[in-house]
Amino acid sequence: MILDAITMVLTLGGLAFFAAGTLGLLRFPDTHSRLHALTKADNLGLGLIVLGLALQAGTPGNAIKLVLIWALAMIAAGTTAQLIARSALVSNLRKDDGDRTR
């Protein structure tokens, strides 16, 4: 009963982060701030949901699998965020150069 309540609080918290991240993705003006919003949703949102679900997993093995999914998703999200940020930076610099020479 208490476990169920904790699960609900944690997953609802995760959903809140996802909602905020989505809002940021839609509303923020440039690539870097949009990435900032998105990675928070990925890390904290998914992390809270995984924590909440791990309490319901039954066996420690299943809970560890859930945490592994979170860890992998975080590593993948962090890497792609870096790559996107870098390529956005490079293309912005190129655009600035183009503006200056024109």
Partner: protein
């Protein structure tokens, strides 16, 4: 109550994604919605406990096909908006789509509410198949020719991709040369992930004989690992004329065909006697995985290119 609410939400989202993927003239948007559609479809398969199909859909339907479509989009250059279709064609497509939808609805209405399909027959014969996973039993034993033909279709697709290679590019390495910063984010990721990816891929293949998993799902994970190491510039793709590569590509369908022909001695084409069914299926799964993974990697990389001067 909550469960049916979830199902209805997934169904509505599926319809919206499908609509967004086929309407509108922005190709990139269509691809993104197609990928989301594939992920939602795999959630739908999960909801009806078809974990094998869900895995295959997520790995191949959404993941691999998505990568192939994005790759093709990247090569299209400026021609990224579709031409407006003639109104007649849209009308015909609408009528045909509505007709098929109505026919499917009609057919689903006519199904018996419980115990539809061949589940009982498959479970009754499961012992004879040599494996514990009914889906694997169907795919590699009862209806083995489906999987055999699928593996050959993949090979034919790769021959199709290779056949558009330019005259001077033939015999070179497939795809473009990738440069990643030495020790940068992508290279570190490319060094770290294979350790986990190889274990998960091999596990999915091995699990296929007793639970959800199999050659196609595991092969896709292994292919993703290989593509990542090539993207990170850690490994060069092999030249398309490499002998071991050619052998590895035909090995899966070849061994499958060979075992199927051996079945002629036991009764008929593709018949595995119960005593040897388990080792035969596991052997086929393993070589098939290698061939599928390699084929998928080469499909994503594309035709061989001219070497830079």
């Amino acid at each position: 109550m909550i469960a049916s609410g979830f199902d209805i939400t997934v169904c509505v989202l599926l319809c919206l994604c499908a609509l967004a993927a086929v309407t509108g003239r922005d190709t990139f948007r269509a691809i993104v919605f197609f990928i989301v559609y594939g992920l939602l479809i795999s959630v739908a398969w999960l909801r009806i406990d078809a974990i094998d199909v869900a895995l295959a859909e997520a790995a191949i339907g959404a993941g691999l096909t998505g990568v192939l479509l994005l790759g093709a989009f990247g090569q299209m250059g400026s021609a990224d908006t579709m031409a407006r279709e003639p109104r007649g064609a849209v009308l015909i497509a609408l009528v045909a789509g509505a007709g098929i939808g109505a026919a499917v609805l009609f057919a689903v209405q006519g199904l018996p509410p419980e115990g539809a399909g061949l589940t009982a027959e498959v479970l009754a014969q499961l012992e004879a198949s040599g494996v514990g996973n009914p889906v694997t039993a169907v795919l590699l034993n009862f209806r083995g020719y489906d999987t055999l033909l699928e593996s050959i279709v993949l090979l034919v697709a790769l021959i199709g991709v290779w056949s558009v290679a330019s005259e001077t590019g033939w015999g070179e390495r497939p795809g473009i040369v990738h440069h990643a910063r030495a020790g940068g984010t992508l290279q570190s990721f490319g060094r770290f992930l294979p350790a986990i990816g190889l274990v998960i891929g091999a596990y999915i293949v091995w699990a296929g004989s007793s639970g959800p998993g199999g050659a196609f799902q595991g092969g896709t994970v292994l292919a993703a690992v290989a593509i990542l190491t090539i993207l990170a510039g850690l490994v060069d793709a092999p030249r398309v004329t490499t002998r071991w590569l050619r052998w590895a590509l035909v090995m899966g369908p070849g061994v499958f065909l060979g075992v199927a022909l051996l079945g002629l001695f036991g009764g008929a084409f593709l018949v595995f006697p119960q005593a040897v069914a388990y080792p035969a299926i596991v052997a086929i799964e393993i070589v098939l995985t290698a061939s599928i993974a390699l084929t998928l990697v080469l499909l994503v990389l594309g035709p061989p290119r001219e070497a830079p001067q």
